[in-house]
């Protein structure tokens, strides 16, 4: 589904990301971990064509992302609050995103309705602008908006940060369901090793922009990761 080859990004001679080869098959839940500055967000930004690669490219579903815009219909993302439109209510925001993805209001309503307990009654029908919601609630709205319109690739940067424990657990359920039963390729980055190992079938560790570990998740993975980061 997503093929990365010879990808690198340099800022004034400083290499922040270098990935020789990375293959992410369709329907995989893929976790990216690493310390600050390891290149997680850089990789996601390259995948979404928000920055230009210095060398190499990413091919998503046979489309080279920095050459054509045809990856946009099947890809969606929530990277940070700058993906939210502060002066809209959550409903209006969902409708807007839905409309861009060819979904009418009724479909969006039905889709968003499934997430009633994820929202914990704090998002829908509150008549508040997104900018007036708390950070955690903003994040919930952003994540759900990224799921509208049956995307085949979903990119979530640090989805667990800022969420309360109940919501974290519910989010894990949602992500697992996406990959296992709907065949969606989910890319997640996180600092929380426990969450990532819970959710992702495969975990890649980045360090200073390079892939240093590529693990298929099993019982020993969490221990291995903890040992790795302890050093």
């Amino acid at each position: 589904m997503i093929t990365t080859s010879n990808l690198s990004k340099k800022y004034s001679g400083n290499q922040v990301l270098h990935i020789e080869n990375l293959e992410i098959p369709k329907g995989q839940s893929f976790g990216l971990v690493g310390n600050n500055g390891a290149g997680k967000t850089t990789y996601f930004s390259l995948l979404l064509d928000l920055i230009q690669p210095t060398t190499g490219h990413i091919i998503s579903n046979d489309i080279q992302v920095n050459k054509s815009e045809d990856w946009k219909p099947f890809t969606s993302a929530f990277i940070d609050e700058s993906f939210l439109i502060g002066y809209l209510t959550p409903e209006e925001y969902f409708y807007f995103v839905g409309e861009l993805r060819g979904q009418n209001k009724a479909t969006v309503d039905a889709f968003v309705g499934q997430f009633e307990d994820f929202f914990h009654g704090e998002i829908l029908g509150k008549k508040k602008y997104l900018r007036d919601l708390s950070k955690g609630n903003q994040k919930k709205a952003g994540i759900v908006a990224a799921l509208i319109g049956n995307p085949e690739v979903v990119v979530l940067d640090e989805p667990f940060a800022n969420l309360d424990p109940t919501t974290q657990i519910r989010l894990k359920g949602i992500v697992k369901d996406l990959a296992e039963t709907r065949g969606v390729t989910v890319l997640i980055s996180s600092h929380d090793l426990m969450h990532v190992t819970d959710v992702c079938e495969r975990i890649v560790v980045l360090e200073k922009g390079e892939v240093v570990k590529d693990l298929v998740t099993n019982e020993a993975t969490l221990k291995e990761l903890e040992a790795h980061f302890a050093n």
């Binding site: 064509d49 928000l50 993906f83 209510t89």
Partner: protein, 492 residues
Amino acid sequence: MMKHFLKLEWKAFFRSASFGKSLGIKIFMGFMALYFMTFFLIGGFFMDKILEKVFPKLDLITAFCGLLFFWILGDLIFRFFFQKLPVMSVKPLLTLPVSRNKIVHYVLGKSALSFFNFLPLFAIIPFGIKLLFKDYPTGSLLILLLALFVTTLIINFLNFIIESFSAETELSFLPVILLTGGLFALNYYEIISFKDLIGNAFIAIYESPLLILVLLLILVITYIFNFKLLHKKLFLDSGLKTEVKEVNASNLDWTKNFGDIAPFMQLDLRLIWRNKRTKSSVWMLAIGLLYGLFFYPNSTYNNMPFFFIFIGIFSTGIFLINFGQFVPAWDSGYYKLLMSQNIKYEQYLKSKFTLMALSVVVLFVLGIPYVYFGWKILFAHFAAAIYNIGINTHVILWGGSFNRKKIDLSQKAAFNYQGTGAVQWLIGIPLLVLPMLIFALLNWLLSFEIACIVLIAMGVLGIVFHEKLMRFITGKYLESKYKMIDAFDQDN
């Protein structure tokens, strides 16, 4: 402590992402300052001659003091639109061991050093020196000079009091207009003669210097009042609590008539209506529309047809200029979302174009009553409207592809009254001046009708090639996509 604050500001200025751009503006402002300084200097130098001419029967001091009322009113209006309280990002300082008092004193102290406070001195000092040579008593003159300087400082602080109150209202410029207009009217219709009141007060100071203490007292009171106001705003929650209003959401379904650009038009309309900064540009429409009334009733302008075009472009294009110059910065807060969403740039830009073109049509129609002042004016306005739709909309959208400065729509921190400054009018100059030049030239060489028709033809040409132009503009935006994303990501 002051040293630290100054260092911070120095760095904020030189390390800002839009440094080059704001430097250009600073240089322009520098020239404006020079211009005003010379203007005041010459004015001050010939003040005695002018006063003798206009008020031959009055003593110079009496005549001069009689004008002070108008100076105070003018200064208040001028400052309201051009002088802003020095901005400082205070949030990071609040948890540090810096006393709140110090921050406020610093900001207020800095405002006292504003250019606006020294400008009157350029007129007052040469005038004073000339009076000295006319054998007016030195001591009294110095006291009068001091009194005038203290008055500028009072106006300085008074202005911030007015601004801080009007920043909370929607029509931010209404309070100051009402206040100054009201005072002027009371004086004009001789209900209360503020002119004499203020004049006599200054003459009294001139005659008995101890009275200057009253002025100093007023200065201290305005300072303390300002201090209290700002001090209150230095708490984080002061910005938050007013905002949680219930939303009245309208569904804007009528935009569906515009086809595939409908979602963007809905977004733009909500953008305009739900943010304080954009909302003020809606109120500007009223000013633009009524702008002609300042000129047309005066018959001297009737022989200057190029003025019709100026007012035509301005009054039909005020929304275009105000809104268009910040495309795409209006969307800078969520630009990354738009760029990774399933959208076509062309639709996004077309929505902006449609809004601007619609505004021109509406403003032209609302301006039809100007025909009262002559059919020529209506014809010129029509030509200007077509030119606006065909040429200026495209020019301003094209210009937007060079836009690298983020606009923080949700900005509601203390000390921030952004969005009402003078700078945003600068970009309007080429949009206004070019058609005026073309028109003036043709009007002079050929005739009024031909000049209008040429402008119309240019506009029609722009409309005919609309698709082509939009493709070109879209290309420009695509080219600078990464630069824009990067710039909009930065805070300053």
